[in-house]
C-alpha cells in the first residue's frame, strides 16, 4: 500500500504533466468540436429547408401512399401509408439478399472446389466461370438476366404448363399456393419434433462413434425421418392442406403464388456474380491448409470426400469466413441496383417513389442509409460470432 502512494506522488505535480488527464482533456475537446459541428450542420439544414419551404419531419410516414407496388410480402395496397412502403421495401430487400446469399454460398463453394479439381476440364471451366463473372459489371449482368432472358419465355396465353398446376411465362412463375386447413398445425408440430429428434440423434451418433468407433448412417436416417414422419402424420390426419391453383383469367394467371421475374433475375445475377468471388475465397482457403494435412488424412485411410469434409474444410473455414462476410455485405448492398429492372426493393420503393412523392430527401435518405448500415452491421456481427465458433479451439 505504501508503494502505491509513492508512485502517485509525482503525478500530482502538474495537471498538464499527467498524460492520462491530458488525454481526457483532448478527448473532451474533440468530442465537443464534433458535436458542435454536427449540431451546427443539423440546425443549418433545418433552417435552410424551412426557408425554402421544403417540408421536414417524419409526419409524412403516416400519410396515404396512393401508389401500387408490384410485389409485397405483407398486405399492401394504395390505401396504406408511406411508412408501410418502407416496410414493404425493406422486406423485399431482405428477401432478395437472403436468397442471393444462400445461392451464392452454395454455388461459390461448388465452383471453388471444382477450381481445385484434378480433372482438367472441370478446373478450367470453373476458372472460366470465375474470370467471366468477376470481370463483367454487375449492373450489366442484372440487365442481361432480365432483358435478355425475358423474351425467351412465352406470352401468358402460351404459358409453359407443368405437372401440378405450375405455369411459367414472361410475367413469372405461377405456383399453387398451400392453404392450411384445421389439423395442419399438427403436421408442423410433428416436423418440429422430428427436427429436435435429428439433433439428438446426431449427438448420440457422434458420442457412440467416439466411444465404439462404429459409424451410424446419420445422414440417411435423418433424411428418412425428416421426410417420412411429417408425411405419415399428414396422411393420418387426412391431408389437411388445400391448394389454391393459378388459373388463366383475362390478361394473366390469377390466384396461387407468383414468383416475379424481377426477383429471379436479380437473385440469380447477385448470386452468380458474388459466387465468382466466393469461389476464389474458397480456393484460397483450401490452399491455405498445408498439404501435409491431406497426406496425413490419406495415411490414416480417410477417403477423399471425407478428408475434404472433415479435415480440410474446417481448417479452411478460418480463412474463408472473414472474407465471406465482406462478400455477404457486398451482396446485400449490391441488391440496391434493383430499381434498374423494376424489382421493388427499399431503394426503388422508399428512396425512389416515396421520396419523389413527398420530396423529403433528407429524412428518407437518412432512413435508407440507416437500414443498410444496420443490415451490414448485423450480418457482420453474426459472421464474427460464427467465426469465433469456427476458430481453432486449442486442445
Amino acid at each position: 500500500m505504501t508503494d502505491h502512494t509513492d508512485e502517485q506522488a509525482p503525478a500530482a505535480a502538474s495537471f498538464w504533466r499527467d498524460p492520462r488527464k491530458r488525454a481526457i482533456v483532448f478527448q473532451v475537446i474533440v468530442l465537443a468540436i464534433v458535436l458542435g459541428l454536427g449540431a451546427y450542420i443539423f440546425h443549418n439544414t433545418l433552417h435552410n429547408l424551412e426557408k425554402r419551404g421544403i417540408s421536414t419531419g417524419f409526419a409524412f410516414l403516416h400519410n396515404e401512399a396512393g401508389f401500387g407496388i408490384l410485389f409485397s410480402l405483407i398486405p399492401y395496397d394504395e390505401t396504406y401509408t408511406f411508412g408501410r412502403t418502407f416496410l414493404v421495401g425493406l422486406l423485399n430487400t431482405l428477401l432478395v439478399s437472403a436468397i442471393g446469399i444462400v445461392l451464392a454460398t452454395i454455388l461459390g463453394f461448388i465452383v471453388g472446389v471444382a477450381r481445385l479439381s484434378h480433372n482438367w476440364i472441370i478446373s478450367r471451366l470453373a476458372n472460366l466461370y470465375i474470370e467471366i463473372f468477376r470481370n463483367v459489371p454487375l449492373l450489366l449482368q442484372i440487365l442481361f438476366w432480365y432483358f435478355a432472358m425475358l423474351p425467351l419465355l412465352p406470352h401468358p396465353r402460351q404459358s409453359l404448363a407443368f405437372e401440378g398446376g405450375i405455369f411459367l411465362n414472361r410475367r413469372g412463375l405461377y405456383l399453387p399456393a398451400p392453404v392450411a386447413e384445421p389439423g395442419f398445425g399438427w403436421v408442423l408440430v410433428t416436423l418440429g419434433l422430428v427436427i429436435a429428434a435429428v439433433v439428438v440423434l446426431r449427438r448420440w451418433a457422434h458420442r457412440r462413434q467416439e466411444a465404439t468407433w462404429q459409424i451410424f448412417p446419420v445422414f440417411w436416417t435423418s433424411l428418412a425421418l425428416l421426410i417420412g414422419l411429417p408425411l405419415l402424420s399428414y396422411g393420418l390426419l387426412g391431408a389437411p392442406l388445400d391448394w389454391d391453383y393459378p388459373a388463366l383469367k383475362g390478361f394473366n394467371f390469377q390466384g396461387g403464388m407468383t414468383v416475379i421475374p424481377e426477383l429471379v433475375a436479380l437473385a440469380i445475377a447477385l448470386a452468380i456474380y458474388t459466387a465468382a468471388y466466393i469461389a476464389e475465397i474458397v480456393r484460397s482457403g483450401i490452399q491455405s491448409v498445408s498439404h501435409g494435412q491431406t497426406e496425413a488424412a490419406y495415411a490414416l485411410g480417410l477417403k477423399r470426400g471425407t478428408t475434404l469434409r472433415l479435415v480440410i474444410i474446417p481448417q479452411a473455414m478460418r480463412v474463408i469466413i472473414p472474407q465471406l462476410t465482406s462478400q455477404y455485405l457486398n451482396l446485400t448492398k449490391n441488391s440496391s441496383l434493383a430499381p434498374a429492372i423494376g424489382y421493388p426493393d427499399l431503394v426503388a420503393v422508399f428512396a425512389g417513389t416515396t421520396l419523389n412523392q413527398t420530396g423529403q430527401a433528407v429524412e428518407i435518405i437518412a432512413m435508407t442509409m440507416g437500414v443498410y448500415l444496420t443490415l451490414s452491421l448485423t450480418i457482420s456481427a453474426f459472421m464474427n460470432w460464427y467465426n469465433k465458433r469456427m476458430a481453432l479451439v486449442e486442445r
Partner: protein
C-alpha cells in the same frame, strides 16, 4: 468510440449537403455565364440529344429561351439529364438553376417541395399504350393487366386512382427510366405502358416496330407540364416565366424568328413594339437588357415554331396542337400580356 463519432459527423455532413444559401439565382447565373438546365434522360420531342449530339426539344427550347433572354445567346445552356426520381433533389440542392423536364404542376409539388412552377409549356394527360395483338379498345378493359411505368411520376398515383375508382386490379412494374419501361413493354413483361400521352407517342417511335402498339383513347388525368425553379427567388422565377410568355405572345402576334428583324424595324403596332422591347417597360422589370424578348424570338422562335418543329407536324411525333393551341384558336395556351 472516436471512429463512431466521426462516422456520425460524416453522416450529418452528407445530410446537410443541400444547405447552400438561397440567394439571387439570376446574379449567380449571370456571373457564371450559362444556365444549368435539368432535362430528361432522353424523350424525343421534349428533351433528347439529336443526331448532331445537341439537346433539342420543346422543353430544351424553354431553357434556350431563358439563356437568350439573360445572355442574348440561346446556346449558353448546359444540360443535366435527370431521371424523374432525381429531378427535384437536383433543383432543391442547387445543382441546376431550372428544371424543364415534362414536370406536372401539382399542389404537393408547389407547396411541400420548395419549388415554384413558372408556367405551362405543354398541356398533357395520362394515357395508355397497349400491344395491338391484345385487341384492347378501351382502358376499361384493362382489369388484371400488368402495367409498366416510370418511377417517381404523378403517373404512378393517377394509375392507382384510376384502377381504384373503376374497381379494377393491376400489377405495376416500376422502372427507373422511361427507356427501361419501354424495354420492359417491348420484352412483353407488361401488357400496357402508361405515361403522359405526348410521351407515349414519343416512346412509341422508340419501339422496334411502332405499328405493333396502339395508344388508347382515354385520358385519365390532367398533366400541365412546365418549367420549375426553386422557391424563394422571385427574380429568377419571373425571368423563366416571362421567357415562356414571350414565346406564346409572339405566336399570338404573328412574330416569328423569320420576320422578327423586319418587324422590329417597321412595326407601328404598339403591342408588337412592347413585345420587341421598343417601347413600354422593356427589360427593366426583369433586370434584363431591353432586347431580351427579341433575342428569344430571333434565336429560339415563337411557341408555334418550337411546337411544330419539335413535336408537331414538322417532327416524327406529329402531335396535333389540341389543348396546346392558342386560346384564340380553340386551345388553352394563354399568356398574360406584355405591357
Amino acid at each position: 468510440m472516436m471512429r463512431k463519432i466521426f462516422a456520425a459527423g460524416t453522416l450529418l455532413a452528407v445530410s446537410a449537403m443541400p444547405a447552400a444559401h438561397a440567394g439571387a439565382t439570376l446574379d449567380a447565373v449571370k456571373a457564371k455565364g450559362f444556365v444549368q438546365c435539368g432535362v430528361s434522360t432522353g424523350l424525343p420531342g421534349f428533351s433528347a440529344a439529336n443526331d448532331k449530339g445537341q439537346w433539342a426539344g420543346l422543353d430544351v427550347d424553354v431553357c434556350r429561351a431563358v439563356a437568350a433572354a439573360v445572355f442574348g445567346d440561346a446556346s449558353k445552356v448546359k444540360f443535366t439529364p435527370l431521371t424523374a426520381k432525381e429531378r427535384f433533389t437536383a433543383l432543391q440542392s442547387g445543382e441546376i438553376d431550372m428544371l424543364s423536364r415534362n414536370t406536372t404542376w401539382t399542389l404537393t409539388r408547389d407547396t411541400n417541395l420548395g419549388l415554384n412552377f413558372a408556367g405551362v409549356n405543354y398541356y398533357d394527360g395520362q394515357g395508355f399504350m397497349v400491344h395491338k395483338s391484345l385487341g384492347v379498345k378501351s382502358a376499361k378493359e384493362l382489369d388484371g393487366a400488368a402495367i409498366c411505368i416510370q418511377a417517381g411520376t404523378t403517373t404512378e398515383l393517377n394509375l392507382a386512382d384510376y384502377f381504384r375508382s373503376n374497381g379494377m386490379k393491376y400489377q405495376a412494374i416500376t422502372y427507373d427510366t422511361s427507356d427501361e419501361s419501354v424495354k420492359g413493354f417491348e420484352a412483353g413483361r407488361c401488357d400496357v405502358l402508361t405515361s403522359d400521352q405526348s410521351q407515349l407517342y414519343a416512346l412509341r417511335i422508340k419501339l422496334k416496330n411502332p405499328g405493333s402498339a396502339v395508344v388508347l383513347p382515354e385520358v385519365i388525368s390532367k398533366e400541365p407540364l412546365g418549367p420549375v425553379v426553386r422557391n424563394g427567388d422571385e427574380d429568377w422565377l419571373k425571368v423563366v416565366r416571362w421567357s415562356l410568355f414571350a414565346m406564346i405572345n409572339a405566336e399570338e402576334m404573328g412574330v416569328t424568328s423569320k420576320n422578327v428583324d423586319e418587324m422590329r424595324k417597321t412595326t407601328k403596332d404598339p403591342g408588337k413594339q412592347r413585345l420587341l422591347g421598343l417601347s413600354g417597360i422593356k427589360g427593366q422589370g426583369l433586370k434584363l437588357s431591353d432586347d431580351w424578348s427579341y433575342n428569344i424570338i430571333k434565336q429560339v422562335g415563337n411557341y408555334s415554331e418550337a411546337f411544330e418543329h419539335n413535336v408537331g407536324m414538322g417532327s416524327p411525333l406529329k402531335i396535333a396542337r389540341g389543348l396546346n393551341a392558342l386560346w384564340s384558336k380553340g386551345g388553352i395556351q394563354y399568356a398574360p400580356p406584355i405591357r
